[in-house]
Amino acid sequence: MILHTVNKSPLTSSCLNNCLRAIGDNDGLLLIEDGVYGADKHQGLKLKPLPSGITVYALKADVEARGLMGRLSEDVRVIDDQEFVDLVVSHNASQSWY
């Protein structure tokens, strides 16, 4: 169970694509900083096809700063900093794509 984090916009960097190639069943995907643009439903995370069990999170402070609250895909869970810590603890490894 790996927690993957991505901190770059999917439109101008390959971080998210690389992550989606590596992410496995039951891993988690956390979008932070500019990575939260990947959660924008308009230009789409293009998550399909994602292995089962993948949960997509986005960090609240970064989402709010970028005015994305009303633009997120439904299947993205917005979490705060404390939940971020809990996520890291509940996964046995983490992998940052940056």
Binding site: N7, K8, S9, L11, T12, E33, D34, Y37, D40, K41, H42, Q43, K60, A61, D62, E64, A65, R66, G67, L68, M69, G70, R71
Partner: protein
């Protein structure tokens, strides 16, 4: 060399807050305007995200760009363009931005680069 009147085109491609370039661009444009150098601004690529409303930056403890960008017209910075394709790619409505901007097609966008004596990129 025809004597092209001094004018600056600031070309922005970066989203807000991921780095400091968005803020640096704004500072440079306001400085040029303060010295009464004609300056135009072009938002391209992820920089169009700087124009989204509802930016609340308390959580990341940085100054909110969306409060500063709208002052550009008050500094006589009136020529503000946005690449229409960048808006379409991101599903952003040109009417709901924090600033009134002029969406441009490719040929107009290209002419902007020809018609300014200096280009600053951010």
């Amino acid at each position: 060399m025809t004597d092209k009147k001094q004018s600056i085109l600031a070309v922005l491609t970066k989203p807000p807050y991921g780095g400091t370039t968005a803020k640096e661009a704004l500072d440079a444009v306001l400085t040029a305007a303060a010295f009464e150098v004609p300056v135009s601004v072009l938002f391209m690529d992820d920089a169009v995200f700087q124009l989204l409303p509802e930016q609340k930056t308390e959580g990341i403890e940085v100054k909110c760009l969306a409060t500063t960008l709208p002052v550009l017209p008050m500094y006589d910075v009136e020529h503000i363009y946005v690449d229409r394709k960048a808006l379409v790619d991101r599903g952003i409505d040109a009417e709901q931005l924090i600033l009134s901007v002029q969406p441009v097609e490719t040929d107009t966008l290209r002419s902007l680069f020809q018609n300014h004596s200096r280009i600053l990129s951010f």
